[in-house]
């Protein structure tokens, strides 16, 4: 960087000439304007998306739509079982993801020094993070659906999503733990705490705010995942009584898969209506997850630290 600064140095004298200085100031102003517009355009796009989805979907979404059963071939179906399946798979996925990823994050952040094992785990996590979700879906198909003979199940879908989200959850854990001041560690150790006691009783509680925020944001991603589920959790629900099946072995078409599938098959004449409604519900869920993540993270930090700021 020193080089770049040096390159600028000889300019200083010449720049005393007025016109040149004005030119440079103009460039600066134009660049500033462009950067402002770039940012505004993207925020504008978001507003456009939100407005459009509300415009198309608002008239569709009502209580009957949210809780009703989908129909096989007539108009007027709802998305109740899809929402149920989305939350079912979400909770199942979190139940697998959180213990594994938080444990691994704790290990890497608090225990592992620069050992070989640490490097291998870190590299594996990075690699896992870039596996495209469709490829992960095919892996789930090979293993859970075919090798284990599970067929399309909520469990297979949840395990596939677990693989997909482990790296992000681990990262969130690492970052949350890294944000805890080193003094807490020292204090606990100096009181005769073992490393494990220090992590569980002093560090983890102090990291709970950012950790919660991270978990909720990842939950939002899980909720909207589609490609990895089509070939693992399946793209259909059982109709009638068993649409709200509590078993992990049930075929579980989630809301996002339903948006894709309803449009694709268009067995019902009002596939567009259902698509617009489902897209709006997904968007609102994402907005909710974002708001909850912020509020819950802040609240939890405050409650646990008791600090009244």
């Amino acid at each position: 960087m020193a080089d770049a600064a040096m390159v600028n140095a000889p300019d200083v004298k010449q720049d005393l000439s007025r016109s040149r200085a004005r030119g440079r100031r103009l460039v600066d102003a134009v660049a500033t304007l462009l950067l402002w517009s770039a940012a505004s355009i993207v925020v504008g796009l978001l507003l456009l998306f939100v407005a459009y989805l509300f415009y198309k979907g608002a008239s569709v979404v009502d209580w009957h739509f949210l809780t009703g059963n989908p129909t096989a071939a007539q108009a007027g179906g709802g998305i109740g079982p899809f929402i149920y399946n989305s939350f079912y798979i979400l909770l199942l996925t979190l139940a697998f993801t959180i213990p594994i990823a938080v444990s691994a994050g704790m290990y890497l952040q608090e225990y592992a020094s620069r050992g070989r094992f640490r490097q291998i785990v870190q590299f594996s996590a990075e690699s896992l993070a870039t596996v495209p979700s469709i490829v992960m879906g095919l892996f789930g198909l090979l293993v859970f659906v075919e090798a284990f003979h599970w067929h399309f199940t909520a469990l297979g879908g949840a395990l596939t999503l677990t693989l997909l989200n482990l790296p992000a959850m681990m990262r969130v854990t690492q970052e949350s733990l890294a944000g805890v001041p080193a003094t807490y560690r020292e204090a606990s150790m100096a009181l005769g705490g073992t490393k494990w006691q220090t992590i569980v009783r002093a560090i983890l509680p102090s990291a709970i705010g950012p950790l919660t925020t991270g978990v909720v944001l990842i939950a939002g991603r899980i909720f909207g995942e589609t490609a990895a589920l089509i070939f693992t959790a399946g793209a259909s629900v059982s109709y009638g009584r068993s649409a709200y099946d509590p078993s992990v072995w049930h075929t579980a078409e989630t809301l996002s898969v339903a948006l894709y599938q309803t449009h694709r098959e268009a067995l019902v004449p009002d596939a567009d209506r259902i698509g617009n409604g489902a897209a709006l519900v997904l968007l609102v869920m994402v907005l909710l997850f974002n708001i909850v993540a912020r509020v819950a993270g802040r609240r939890l930090s405050r409650r646990l630290t008791g600090k009244s700021t």
């Binding site: 950067l35 990823a101 690699s127 870039t130 495209p132 469709i134 490829v135 490609a227 089509i230």
Partner: protein, 293 residues
């Protein structure tokens, strides 16, 4: 009076460590299994069905039941759509990263940043739905075509990679020491000159990582582009003619490709190719970061 002997807490410590290491090992096992399963299933086309890898990589005819497994149209489709996304979304994302790191007043950032976080969270299927119902008809009206094709896919991907590129390039710029900003300003440089000649070069490896992760996100994206590509399994004639990509073709054909058939094996070869590209990008990132140190 406490003695020095190892306590019960100490035993718990060892158990805990063992469990933590086991959980960490899951990551290693998982990626190994994924690579293994896809390598085996992705090469059956070559070893079991005796289709030459060259015919797969460079063949232009795709007919799963007719014995033609040329994946070049999809490889080209994936690369062009991703390339378009990087050319548009890359610079735009870096520019917005610069905006947040160097320009944005706190009050503006407080509104804009959450907006961008929402953009990350929108499911890809919703992006696809927006592309299908908003973008494609609009493009069709403007260009007097159907609107489907690589242009539509490229635009959708550009928007989808923005949040990744923005937040990572902003991070990269934030870690540039303030001394460089002050040094440049004290030599009489304007803010833009400081940004373009000092800060962006200083953050170049971080920005490179941001862009590479953008590529990774774009190349693996499936549903959002399947809905807008037009899905013709042929080499695209232009950005506005129907095309297909590796990911979208897999989702289209997988359900109907018979178990054990070369057709299905070819789809797994495409998935394996995607995985190899992803791994290559990870190695690129490592190289970019090594350069920094």
């Amino acid at each position: 009076m406490v003695g020095f002997r190892a306590s019960r807490a100490h035993r718990d410590e060892r158990i805990a460590l063992a469990i933590l290491m086991a959980c960490s090992a899951i990551f290693v096992v998982a990626i190994a299994l994924i690579l293994g399963f896809l390598a085996i299933n992705g090469t059956k086309l070559f070893f079991q069905d005796h289709v030459s890898p060259l015919a797969f990589l460079f063949g232009t005819t795709w007919d799963g039941f007719g014995g033609h497994y040329g994946a070049l149209p999809f490889i080209v489709g994936s690369l062009v759509a991703t390339g378009f996304a990087i050319l548009v979304g890359g610079p735009l994302g870096v520019a917005i990263g610069v905006f947040f790191s160097e320009l944005a007043p706190a009050r503006i950032a407080a509104v804009f940043k959450p907006a961008i976080e929402v953009l990350v969270g929108i499911p890809s299927i919703v992006y696809g739905w927006l592309g299908l119902t908003l973008l494609v008809p609009a493009l069709g009206a403007i260009t007097h075509t159907n609107g489907d094709g690589l242009l539509a896919a490229g635009i959708v991907l550009s928007i989808m990679i923005l949040p990744t590129v923005i937040s990572l390039s902003e991070d990269a710029l934030r870690v540039v020491p303030n001394a460089l900003r002050e040094g440049s300003a004290s030599l009489g440089a304007t803010r833009w000159e400081t940004i373009s000649r000092v800060l962006v070069p200083a953050a170049s490896s971080g920005i490179a990582v941001a862009v590479i992760l953008g590529i990774a996100r774009a190349i693996g994206e499936t549903l959002a582009i399947q809905l807008v590509l037009g899905n013709a399994p042929v080499l695209p004639k232009s950005l506005l003619s129907p095309a297909s990509a590796l990911t979208s073709e897999i989702i289209i054909d997988m359900g109907d490709a018979p178990d054990g058939s070369p057709f299905r094996h070819a789809l797994f070869s495409m998935a394996f190719l995607l995985l190899l590209i992803a791994m290559a990008l990870i190695i690129l990132i490592r190289l970019a970061l090594r350069k920094r140190t």
